[in-house]
């Protein structure tokens, strides 16, 4: 088992290197470089430009040097000095801006995932054990529609309905007085009061998918001889269903945790913009719009790294749950 985990971690390294290259490429995509626009911005606001400071920055990011030198300097800054570059728009180091947003994104995605698993799996089990009942048909219909309904359009509709019928603005993760306040118990409670709407909106399509997969997988398992044998031997129905076939039916989920996380993060980007949540979405959008490229690139790098780690975790869980995999490896 340990050897397997170790090998998977080794595999991660080339992936991470590639991801950092892609993120850097995105930083480099817009024409011009950061310092030129920075200097232009300073000039328009009438500030004096400290030539020495500019030269120092130019040296720091390797501007004007070959592209691989710039890339290496960027990576070195992140790895050795935890220096993610400077945000042009906010006039602050990227690392001060980014981590709270990323943390909130992770909290939101994880809560959504857990919520949709709990709901999706239990509804799926119910649907499979009560095949062709009224509830089964209803749930199948609901999940069909849920899979096709895109999160950000649902968010728009929810926003509109809440505003038009209840006069509520459901956007944001915090009330106004906590928006800029430092973290405290009260702020946390306030977040809990707001976070359930984005969780529900985000969870709809993933829950629907989970219901369908659980139902199909469990139906396949329920007809297998071992289940019939167990029933013939007088095992209680609940224990029978939950302990053996359900475990097998759930295996595909563990193998897709990583991708589920990736798609949740990318889905939440759009939903977050619509609901103006304080997660990465709106800030990434703004950074891209104003070509604040170090900020945008760092976001993409961090989000991708997170999903790679998510995939690693899901592989490890999979190996732990399903001995066939770890013995093969």
């Amino acid at each position: 088992m340990l050897r397997y985990v170790f090998r998977r971690i080794l595999y991660m390294i080339p992936t991470l290197i590639l991801i950092s290259m892609v993120s850097f490429a995105i930083i480099q995509l817009p024409p011009g470089d950061y310092l030129t626009s920075y200097a232009a911005q300073l000039r328009t606001t009438g500030d004096t430009i400290d030539e020495a400071e500019l030269a120092a920055l130019r040296e720091r990011y390797g501007l004007g040097q070959p592209i691989y030198v710039q890339y290496l300097k960027w990576v070195k800054g992140i790895l050795l000095h935890n220096d993610w570059g400077q945000s042009m728009e906010w006039q602050r180091p990227v690392k001060e801006l980014i981590f709270e947003r990323i943390a909130l994104t992770v909290v939101l995605s994880f809560s959504t995932m857990i919520f949709s698993w709990v709901v999706g799996i239990s509804v799926g089990i119910y649907s499979a054990t009560h095949q062709y009942s009224f509830m089964d048909y209803l749930m199948t219909l609901v999940s069909f529609i849920g899979v096709g309904t895109p999160g950000f359009l649902l968010a728009l509709i929810v926003m509109y309905a809440a505003m038009a019928y209840f006069g509520l603005n459901v956007g944001g993760l915090f009330s106004e007085q906590y928006m800029l306040a430092p973290w405290s118990w009260a702020k946390f409670v306030d977040m809990l009061k707001h976070i359930w709407i984005p969780i529900l909106v985000l969870a709809v399509s993933s829950t629907a998918g989970i219901i369908r997969t659980t139902r199909a997988n469990l139906l396949d398992e329920l007809n297998k001889p071992y289940v019939v044998t167990a029933r013939a031997k007088g095992l209680k129905e609940t224990k029978l269903v939950l302990k053996y076939p359900t475990r097998v039916a759930l295996i595909p989920f563990f193998s897709t945790v990583g991708w589920a996380l990736a798609s949740l993060v990318s889905g939440s980007t759009l939903v977050a913009v619509v609901l103006s949540l304080q997660t990465e979405g709106p800030m990434l959008l703004r950074a891209l719009m104003s070509q604040d490229m170090y900020l945008a690139g760092s976001f993409i790098l961090l989000l991708s790294t997170l999903t790679v780690i998510g995939t690693l975790i899901s592989d490890v869980i999979l190996a732990w749950v399903d001995p066939r995999i770890r013995l093969e490896a």
Partner: protein, 388 residues
Amino acid sequence: MAERRENTAQAVAGAAEELAYREQEERVFVASQWQLMWWRFRKHKMALVSAGVLGLFYLVAIFCEFVAPYDPEQFFTQYKLCPPTRIHIRDAQGRFQWPFIYKLQRQRDPETMRIIYTEDTTTAYPIRLFVRGSPYRLWGLFSLDRHLFGIDAPREEQGVFLLGADRMGRDLFSRVCYGARISLSIGLVGVFLSLILGIILGGISGYYGGLLDNIIQRAIEFIRSIPSIPLWMGLSAALPADWPIVRVYFGITIILSLIGWTGLARVVRSKFMSLREEDFTMAARLAGSSEMRIITRHLVPSFLSHIIASLTLSIPEMILSETGLSFLGLGLRAPAISWGVLLRECQNLRSLVLAPWVLTPAFAVIIAVLAFNFVGDGLRDAADPYAR
């Protein structure tokens, strides 16, 4: 005697039934693969209905200049944020008539100072089919001025707004029709590009295996581990803002298919891997067929139906991504008209509450996506007609 006659009747009926059954079976035996697929697809009622809906949507997209009553850019300054026009079939006396609309009158609400529209029941305009209206060039080729429907009044006097008018007084229904052209075609073009990439790379991966397979599989895993929307956002933000619409359109489709091909490549690869071990492939090889011939004559036709099914399932993803990107302002931008561009109107919550009908493009998107999902599901079930 009577009993015997009954018996005979039963026997005859039984024989007829038997014969009908045999014929049915015979029909199944001689039916081509596509016929069998069609029979199975027909059983999936939702898929059938959805296919009809999609057909309608694409007809509107193809003939949008004709279906739309007005030019999508033409604004009616007097009808800013005009609610959807109500179509009546009963007049003031309660008699049924050919559908008609009443003339709208603008008034200002004395308290809120908002413009409200009331119906003037003394003037009615019947809805006419194939009316003459604003001239247009169908597909940029034929100069025409007939529209599917409209009223016999100049637009300065009265307009018909099936879905209301937007902030600038442009007819939303016309805009949704024109938006369908871009939004629905971007899915097809994007999927076509992904298909080419997916079949080539997935085919190489599955047919040759070994090192190439390993490299391509790692590449697919890598691409799929990056959250797609942030990546798409990053790439489309890099499209120069001064590009013409057509170029942005193709830029977006290329960006979308950069990730889209991975899913198709996986399907193609797994099909290649299972089919190359089949006896008929071996037979073809022993008979001296070239690799190319084996691939194009024997392998591709056997999994074509599966490819079509997974293609159909990946179109809605493309449509949604375009909508999402344009909605954020990173994809197509006005004056291009797509459903995502139209939805930008909804970003302001206040105007959304004042004019909820600007949300209708969202329903067009949802219906199109659902319909594609159902059709894809039906096709997937029908793709292997020999199973069971």
